[in-house]
């Protein structure tokens, strides 16, 4: 990590050496990695990056890990898909979906965890741990397996089955907490104080957070080295939103692009929208809420990076929008039916949030917009189970024809009911 200077408190500016530490001893503010951008600028160019691997590690100069030491399971450089059909429906000429649901463990979490697992090995930790709303635990379990580390994952007991199995398969120790994510998080913060475990989103958080910047770099490169006019990002802790913006800004800091006037929007589900509420009320800090939402990956009532997300909204002229609970599944179906991309509930929140932003006139039709889809639909299959009824037929032509006619009749009678775009067919 030739370009890392130190760790720096985001609140009071105190500086610390690079170690597994996430909180300023003086003010409790979060620590962030500080880089020597002049040094990065001397060693990277558009060409050097383009020649790199087709993964997030093509941007290793911007990460706090030596590329040779990276625990890499093939994460990143995911498709930026021109969303012509969805764009037409919403009235946007240049809409793109950043499809990060196709990472090795099917969510963007592989980016921060790849960085953290590498760093945990460097610090000689033997246990990689996390507290998770679902996607993180699968990623921690996979990277730990690859790195030869023991893994322990903590999660609220009400989590979707797919996410629990998706961590168990890698041989992880699973700990289901009877309580909410916020309660699990408090408990794990105390465990992290008392055990020498690399908790990726607690004591390792400054390194963890850096991995998400690569979602900003990739969008810029894949748009042909230009910053988007708008980004729409799902928010739970609010960290991803701020880190995508940090990534885009760093592209200008090192001269890879001239300027970035991206408006950074964020979307939360109505049932867990403390950042949106603070944004609407014009507050600088977030009041915690008790989440009640089907978008479990976004069910954080006490968002750790809430104040920084609010700062990013203010700095970039972005907006925070909430998707109504019933719009979450509508958003999932709309994206699937228009673009062939199947996302989890967080992606449904983003697509419905995008629609709201367009309705509110915040995005003009000729502006370049990137909507981030950060998790895979197969992880929250239960929310789209209802109404799935295949045509059932014996394997002969007559039975098939009868069955299809019955289906057509059913569809016609259903079509009499008014429906919204993307609603059930």
């Amino acid at each position: 990590m030739p370009h890392v200077r130190c760790m720096r408190c985001r609140e009071c500016g105190s500086e610390y050496p690079i170690e597994p530490l996430n909180v300023c001893e003086l003010c409790f503010g979060p620590l962030e990695i500080s880089y020597d951008y002049a040094s990065i600028a001397r060693s990277v160019s558009r060409q050097s990056i383009e020649k790199g691997p087709a993964s997030m590690w093509r941007y290793h100069d911007f990460l706090p890990v030596d590329v040779e030491a990276a625990v890499d399971i093939g994460t990143g450089f995911t498709p930026l898909v021109p969303a012509k059909n969805l764009g037409r429906m919403l009235g946007l000429d240049h809409l793109y979906i950043k499809n990060d649901a196709v990472n090795p463990t099917y969510s963007f979490k592989d980016r921060p965890v790849s960085v953290t697992a590498s760093k945990a090995l460097e610090f000689e930790f033997e246990v990689l741990a996390c507290v998770s709303t679902g996607n993180l635990m699968g990623s921690v379990a996979a990277h730990g397996a690859r790195a030869g580390m023991e893994t322990m994952v903590f999660f609220p007991a009400t989590l979707e089955k797919e996410k629990i199995i998706g961590a168990a398969v890698y041989g992880s120790t699973l700990v289901a907490i009877d309580g909410t994510y916020d309660q699990a998080n408090r408990f794990c913060s105390e465990l992290a104080d008392d055990n020498r475990w690399a908790f990726v989103n607690i004591n390792m958080r400054p390194f963890y957070a850096e991995g998400s910047k690569t979602l900003g770099y990739e969008a810029v490169e894949q748009l042909g080295w230009r910053a988007p006019d708008h980004c729409v990002v799902p928010a739970a802790s609010g960290e991803l939103h701020t880190k995508i913006w940090k990534g885009i800004q760093e592209m200008t800091d090192v001269g890879l692009i001239d300027d970035a006037r991206t408006r950074m929007h964020l979307a939360q589900p109505e049932g867990s929208s403390p950042i949106v509420e603070a944004f609407r009320a014009g507050l600088k800090h977030v009041k915690p809420v008790k989440p009640d939402t089907i978008a479990k990956s976004l069910a954080i009532g006490n968002p750790a990076s809430g104040p920084f997300a609010l700062e990013t909204l203010a700095e970039t002229g972005g907006a925070a929008v909430a998707a109504l609970e019933e719009e979450v599944v509508e958003g999932i179906r709309l994206l699937a039916e228009t673009e062939g991309i199947f996302t989890e509930t967080a992606g449904g929140v983003v697509i419905s949030g995008l629609r709201r932003l367009v309705e509110e006139g915040r995005i003009r039709n000729d502006e370049v917009t990137v909507a981030y889809v950060t998790g895979n639909g197969f992880k929250t299959i239960e929310v789209v189970e209802n109404g799935v009824s295949p045509v059932r037929t014996a394997p002969n032509h007559e039975a098939f024809q009868t069955a299809m006619e019955a289906r057509t009749a059913r569809t016609r009678s259903a079509a009499v009911q008014p429906s919204t775009p993307g609603g059930k067919k």
């Binding site: 003010c27 998770s132 709303t133 994510y181 998080n185 913060s189 105390e190 802790s237 915690p288 750790a304």
Partner: protein, 93 residues
């Protein structure tokens, strides 16, 4: 009338390394003042110049965030467990 307070790593320097301390008080405010008497410097780590809980500090009484209770005026009774936790821990998307 004493409560137990779990001390996070960043404050343990002030508590001479102790990860748990006892203090007395009928409200959280009193408890923190009592802690300050026992361990000078502790309060400044937890509260800002106005005496309010710092932005990046979360305090829980028996596992409940005091922002859902009465903040510094939350009443405390003997045997309560108080946790002081950095706000920036954890978090996913």
């Amino acid at each position: 009338m004493s409560v137990t307070i779990r001390i996070p790593t960043p404050i343990r320097r002030v508590t001479n390394g102790a990860d748990k301390v006892s203090a007395k008080g009928e409200t959280l405010r009193d408890v923190i003042d009592d802690m300050e008497t026992q361990y000078p410097g502790a309060k400044a780590r937890i509260c800002d110049d106005q005496g309010e809980i710092r932005n990046f500090v979360n305090i829980y009484v028996n596992g409940e965030d005091v922002r859902f209770l009465g903040g510094l005026d939350t009443s405390t009774t003997s045997g309560d467990e108080i946790s002081i936790v950095p706000a920036v821990a954890g978090g996913a998307a």
